[in-house]
Symmetry: C2
Subunit: 344 residues, 2 copies
């Protein structure tokens, strides 16, 4: 091509460093040779940045897209990365359930959003070992890494207190995974204490706190741990919980998806919701308001959470040192899936 590599580089990156004619000539030759501009990997290596941030999620990515709350969270992150002109790399979970650390190590990113991973997930350590700028979301804090999240415990407590105020005394709880490798089934107190997923652990703690301070016994409340956060699991949980004696009059779910499944089963069994049984959710996904009956649930700002996480991460990339954490507000949204307990 008869020109130094550095000149080609300048043609693409610093037009002011060479004459317009030569620049045009370089492009012309590039076109003829089928050269599409600097290779991203070579450039990334030299410049020491990848031009993308990664997001690490506890489950398989493809599951995340089936969870409306996750999708909104992604929407927020992508908004932040788009603002900054960065790519968003979705890091694959283990291809066959096995958590491959390879993918985490191999992700060409400048920073990491680590979302909702179990405290003891080996992948979490792998991720932190990379010493990239990172931000934790809905997870226990780690020294030196900013966190974004909500007050899970407080919000759950408020939700349970609301039901107590309606006169309910017999509860059942539907939780998603408490720790890696959820078995699916009733989780006793010790299993609850082992919870390594922050949201499930904290929300149960909130429910427990409300119930104990009402003079009731949390130990008597059956907690069903689902294997995944999906409607079908909520159904399974309700099957079990509604067969208990004494039968609960109120079900506390840790997500709307689970709550929806529970309501389905309750109705199929001939109960009126909220007439006979009240069900409360968590997340306030868009479907919650559309649902019949509309779900009483805890609103949390999913999109904003993603946006905040993205922005905090990006600020770190810019080298603006102080990584601040953020706790976003929640709000109990009373709709139609809860009512005063029926007088016996």
């Amino acid at each position: 091509m008869g020109v130094a590599p550095s000149t080609v580089s300048n043609a693409y990156n610093r037009p002011d460093q060479l004459s317009p004619e030569l620049r045009e000539r370089v492009f012309e030759v590039a076109r003829r040779l089928g050269y599409a501009g600097p290779d991203p990997l070579g450039r990334g290596l030299r410049r020491r940045r990848a031009g993308a941030v990664g997001v690490l999620y506890t489950d398989r990515l493809s599951y995340a897209f089936a969870d409306p709350a996750a999708v909104m969270f992604f929407e927020g992150i992508s908004q932040a990365t788009e603002e900054a002109g960065l790519g968003l790399l979705l890091i694959p979970g283990g291809s066959l359930g096995s958590r491959e650390p390879e993918a985490v190590r191999n992700a060409a990113v400048d920073g990491l959003v680590i979302w909702c991973m179990a405290e003891d997930d080996p992948l979490l350590e792998t991720a932190l070992e990379r010493r990239l700028p990172a931000v934790l979301v809905d997870q226990p804090p780690v020294e030196g890494v900013p966190s974004v999240g909500i007050d899970d415990e407080g919000a759950a407590r408020a939700a349970a207190e609301y039901l107590i105020g309606l006169g309910h005394t017999r509860f059942g709880a539907v939780s998603f995974e408490l720790a890696l490798g959820a078995r699916g089934g009733i989780a006793d107190l010790s299993r609850q204490r082992e919870a390594t997923f922050l949201p499930s652990g904290s929300r149960l703690k909130g429910y427990a706190a409300a119930i104990e301070s009402a003079g009731l016994s949390w130990a008597d409340v059956p907690v069903y741990e689902c294997k995944e956060n999906k409607v079908s699991e909520g159904r399974v949980a309700a099957e079990v919980l509604l067969s208990k004696t004494p039968q609960p009059t109120a079900l506390l779910a840790t997500s709307d998806l689970l709550a929806i499944g529970a309501i389905e089963v309750a109705r199929e069994r001939g109960f009126s919701v909220p007439g006979d049984i009240s069900v409360i959710g968590f997340d306030d996904i868009p479907e919650a308001a559309q649902h019949i009956p509309p779900l009483t649930t805890v609103y949390q700002p999913h999109v904003e959470k993603g946006l905040a996480a993205g922005r905090i991460l990006i600020a770190q990339l810019g080298g603006e040192g102080v990584a601040h954490s953020e706790v976003l507000p929640t709000r109990l949204v009373v709709r139609g899936s809860t009512a005063e307990v029926k007088r016996a």
Copy 2:
């Protein structure tokens, strides 16, 4: 560290090439030095692969997450990439509406899923110039690049024929973007002919074909072109179309989101849907079945579309030459938003 770089490399990538003790020692030193394993960029450069595939979308990414059809499509792609242990890089659209080619050129990926871009979008050319393995989805075919899609025209035609069979003769159409920079407003025939977005163009063509072959005049059917694929735009379209004389008794939408918006407005104006006005959608997003009334619409397999696109792309990566295209099946799903035309 007292050991050759190649040995470190072997420690991480080829355990069989060195003694277990040395390998352990390497890791030990790595830990102490805070070395987290081979740098993805260096490795990528040398190995000539990035370990990720990119997805390029016509809109801003953050919009995509708000569209259930898009989300399902992503779900499919991510399933495919996850199977292959690859990352999924979401390439940012122009940060401020302006389509920056930088991001496309700068994406460190081994292949590209190019989804639903206008035929004349400069970014499309930029993407193809990279000469990476690619697959086009819901787009006009390009020589040498495999395509994945559905028979938009045939499916739309079937949908319109169904309405004609119900006795409707006065139609209105609600379309999303026909070409880059949609203005929002009635699109005349010449604008329709200019359509560069395959799905909108083909679906309208299908509607037109059905109507013409029923002996009606497509030229008399007002077509409202929305700026974006969202409920609020469907509302605007319906406001306009329902004010036309003669008033349409059936609205043909090119997406469910638009159909839902149209139904809202029709009802607010005191019409019964489907009593007075029939509305048909396209996509069969999950919300379509939940909606009141449930939407009559064209089902297409969104997740499978993403899965197919991903797999075809990944097959090309593996060097398996022949890139085959795929046309996925669709199906008219009759629900409650359509009915026989009211006898005057």
